[in-house]
Symmetry: C2
């Protein structure tokens, strides 16, 4: 089961990195909840499209994955150059490296809930 | 294996909540690394003792745990009143609720590496 979940998660990240928005509904539930906000699939897609608009060189890469049904936990490592203000910080194209530790709850084969924390402190430190 | 890891993690949190520092070495490796800093067991204990000094009503509670050897991932939910400045924010005894998403790597039965991200943004929002 853990290996199945890991394959699912790898395929999900590949979908994001390909910006294959037509396929997103194969991975994300229609009523997905992100950090207690019920974004729904369209709101979730809009959030991701906004991420790629703000960060043209965005790549999703999982450094660590722990799969324990119904949960997947991942530590995503980012190395990118956000164009302007990112998370309230004036990055303005500088290179920043930071992590996101994120949990997903999988229901009926799709991501139904997400609890994400981004290491904003690391970004702020990199800009000092 | 997942259930063994979860029991280990539950026992570790109980050790923290009891502030049973004499027992910490049963859970944490002598050369533990926390967010890329090699704190070692004594530095790790000092960090935790500092947390309890700064936050007298601190309780560690895992809302989510995913165990997938050699990793444990947890979402810790905090509801507490830090005394003064916490993570650079002037909390001054106000009640704050926030999460920490954290990964642990278990080696030879002990926590050898920790990758933690605290949701500082949520604390800042609560203080506004």
């Amino acid at each position: 089961m853990a290996s199945t979940l890991k394959q699912f998660y790898s395929d999900y990240l590949a979908c994001l990195n390909a910006q294959n928005w037509a396929a997103l509904g194969s991975f994300v539930a229609d009523d997905v909840v992100h950090n207690e906000h019920r974004l729904g699939l369209s709101g979730y897609r809009d959030m991701l499209m906004g991420n790629f608009a703000d960060i043209p060189d965005l790549v999703f890469h999982a450094g660590l994955v722990a799969a324990d049904a119904p949960y997947i936990a991942a530590r995503l490592d980012f190395d990118c150059r956000p164009k302007g203000t990112f998370l309230g910080l004036a990055v303005n194209g500088r290179r920043v490296r930071f992590a996101e530790n994120v949990f997903y709850e999988i229901t009926d084969g799709k991501i139904a809930r997400v609890w994400s924390v981004i290491d904003k402190t690391a970004i702020a430190a990199a800009l000092r």
